[in-house]
Symmetry: C2
Subunit: 455 residues, 2 copies
């Protein structure tokens, strides 16, 4: 009997064409969860994916929510003596602006240089699809799966996972599992198989400053009016000091640092020059008192994700705008509370806003940071799968990004978490020209298939 | 023989309907000089206005330029012993964004509550049109004009007057005059006839900061990348201190303050509460060491007219943008040089931009401040006209806004300047719902007609 990995390789080779055709169909849905214009497309995407899972042999349900449905699919025929693995993915994607920078349309997948270009090609439709394909292959090859598998695929990851979060309590029983695999992460490079030990939490908010009741002439009123644009840049600039430290009172109060023993198990290797080669600029941001990867992995941040105020079209308009706005996000580490951080930012703004300007803060749904144990059975099983597929030892890393729902899902399912995936830093997720490698489609497929056997 | 003012009043009453119909035609041209999409409309507007002037008896030319044509029209039959008055207006208008805040479409004039609503209703089509109507009426009533009149009506005032500026030297002879009336100003309120003694200069520029070569994920890169949005708010915030003083080195070096004697002739009356009642907010901006009207009239400013960076659409996008931009303008006082101030701002930005961010500054055409002499013949003649029309003494004020071309035109024409008009602070020029009063159409018409007799 051939080794699982060889059977999987053979299957992949034989079915690659069909697999990519089906993947392209998945990518063509404009499932942008944060834009109401895309509503029908998000729903169509969920329907299509649920039907697909049913067809390959999963008991599939669309859990209705106040927002987009959660796809819950299970295959529990491995038997009660086998462990249960809950796998998390999402079928929604980020918006596509600035659309003019895409080299091919974001929802018309195209292959160039061994890469599939489309919104969601990696995050998370690509990683979701190789996972499903591995399950489909194992079922075709062996007629069953080595462990019980539950899939939880939501449609609001890119806008805060509010709906999945709100139904967790009522779906408590269905979600019980021994292990939870979050297949939405990455590796530092193609020669560095890695499992992620932690994700940062996140809290996002919109800030709106208002001055006069309408836009005003900057000559006739300049020197009189307090310009909301000025109030905004002053408030935002004062949130950080010259060393990159965030100055909002209490911001760092609850931060738990890594202990020395934990620190040693992790690969902190980082080459600023390689970062520059990839992205065109040296990584000069963040807190100057910490190393690059500490800043990105285990320290909280505050970023301005959007700025808008006054006239930004062609030509010039000498206006003092009535309003100026910003979108900001904070990445959080254990044990920072998203709600508390949002409150601190809001209080800072309300306390410091100048006379003549009013501030409104709209806080979105957030998520706590998560950490997993490198010695747990599930992390070790996936590490072995990475090693077999890459023919290299698997290292441990962290990830600066967030999957807000992970901590809640781990708590609800009472499972041990493993964070994995095959994203690369230059896949342009959340940016124009998102892409994912054909090679990684296959490797992901093999890792999932192999890890199930190792559990 | 009836007094001039009575004949004018009679004429106005008789012709008001026709006058408004023609004015509406003038307002319907979308003559937005700063938006290239409006090019044909700007040209059509110039053609229409030139034809109109020809029809009422002016020798009319369209001076071609690299941009939009300048309308030059003259009536020199008053004779060589009479003085020549050059009158300046402009036929171009500001952009209309945010268009959704207009209660009626900006290029479909509508009368509500005695006000004409349209882009340009005041600035400057309204003031241009009552001027022309006064000339037309005098010609109809008397068959001639009491002085020689030249009209210079340009099409690029709202974007820096570059074309008129560039042809001044070649049109030196045609533009010679004894007096220059700039009919593009205002009065503090309907019961305060006023002549403006000074305008601030202006320089505008676009600032663009660049970081990574494309937009980046704010989780995976937060703490690594220097966010251009942060660099922008830091650079802009540091341009002013807590007292509102501009901190750019050398910014105030050339400022000439008013002498005590000059100061005494001017009405500095200002009620912050009235400002708040009009615009919804107290005037808390500008330099705290100066009175309200000093800040607005005789002190320079730096305003952020536009801010843009990252995602500002619906929902949220956790992005660190590749670029962040601002549009800024400085209002200048005698003897500040627009070019020098632009250079100081550029040098400040280049010196202070953080590592990992590059800055590009695009400087537009500027204009120097202007001051006129309250004791000059032309100022006195117009002051008497205001007094007769308003039945009140005419006071002297300044204006915080700029008409960049005025200083150059005064120098070229070698004339004494008078700055006048009937704008009100709440006319919403450069903003949605611009409007001008029917009562002021008539008053402006009477003032122009009467002043010509006084010269």
């Amino acid at each position: 009997m051939p080794r699982t990995i060889d059977s999987l390789k053979g299957y992949y080779k034989e079915h690659e064409k069909e697999l990519l055709e089906e993947f392209f169909t998945f990518l063509e849905f404009q499932s942008i969860s944060s834009e109401s214009d895309s509503k029908q497309e998000v729903l169509n995407c969920a329907e299509w994916l649920a039907a697909y899972l049913k067809k390959i042999g999963f008991d599939t349900q669309l859990w209705p929510t106040a927002g987009y449905p959660v796809i819950f699919a299970s295959y529990l025929k491995a038997g009660p003596d086998k462990p249960t693995l809950l796998i998390y993915n999402h079928y929604d994607v980020q918006p596509v602006d600035p659309i003019e920078l895409w080299e091919s349309p974001p929802f018309e997948p195209a292959i160039r240089g061994g890469q599939i270009y489309a919104r969601g090609a990696q995050d998370n439709k690509g990683q979701c699809f190789y996972t499903i394909q591995a399950l489909k292959a194992l079922l075709k090859i062996s007629g069953t799966l080595p462990v019980n598998v539950k899939l939880c695929i939501e449609g609001e990851e890119e806008c805060g996972s509010r709906s999945l979060s709100s139904i967790l309590k009522t779906k408590f029983k269905e979600l019980q599992a021994d292990y939870l695999a979050i297949v939405d992460l990455g590796i530092p490079s193609l020669d560095k198989p890695s499992i992620t030990l932690g994700l940062r939490g996140i809290i996002t908010m919109d800030i709106e400053l208002s001055g006069a009741k309408s836009d005003m002439h900057s000559g006739s009123n300049g020197g009189l009016l307090y310009n909301p644009n000025h109030a905004l840049v002053e408030l935002l600039a004062k949130m950080r000091d010259r060393s990159g430290k965030i100055t909002i009172p209490g911001f760092y109060d609850d931060v738990v640092s890594l202990e020395e023993g934990e620190k040693e198990q992790v690969s902190w290797d980082f080459k600023p020059e390689e970062y520059k080669a990839m992205f065109g600029v040296l990584p000069t941001g963040g807190e100057k008192d910490y190393s690059h990867l500490e800043r990105n992995w285990v320290r909280p941040t505050l970023e301005i994700n959007g700025l808008t105020g006054g006239y930004s079209g062609a030509g010039f308009k000498t206006v003092i705008p009535s309003k100026a706005s910003a979108k900001i996000s904070c990445r959080l580490v254990p044990n920072q509370s998203p709600d508390k951080i949002a409150r601190l930012v809001k209080e800072y703004l309300e306390k410091n806003v100048p006379e003549g300007i009013t501030v409104k803060v709209n806080i979105h749904h957030g998520g706590k940071a998560i950490r997993s144990n490198p010695d747990s059975k599930v992390v070790q099983a996936f590490a072995r799968a990475y090693e077999e597929v890459f023919h290299k030892p698997c290292q441990f890393i962290f990830e600066g990004a967030s999957i807000p729902i992970v901590t809640e899902l781990a708590e609800t399912s009472r499972s041990e978490v493993v964070l994995l995936g095959l994203g690369l830093a230059d896949d342009n997720i959340h940016a124009p020209n998102e892409h994912f490698g054909l090679d990684r489609m296959e490797k992901g497929f093999l890792i999932i298939g192999k890890a199930l056997e190792e559990l």
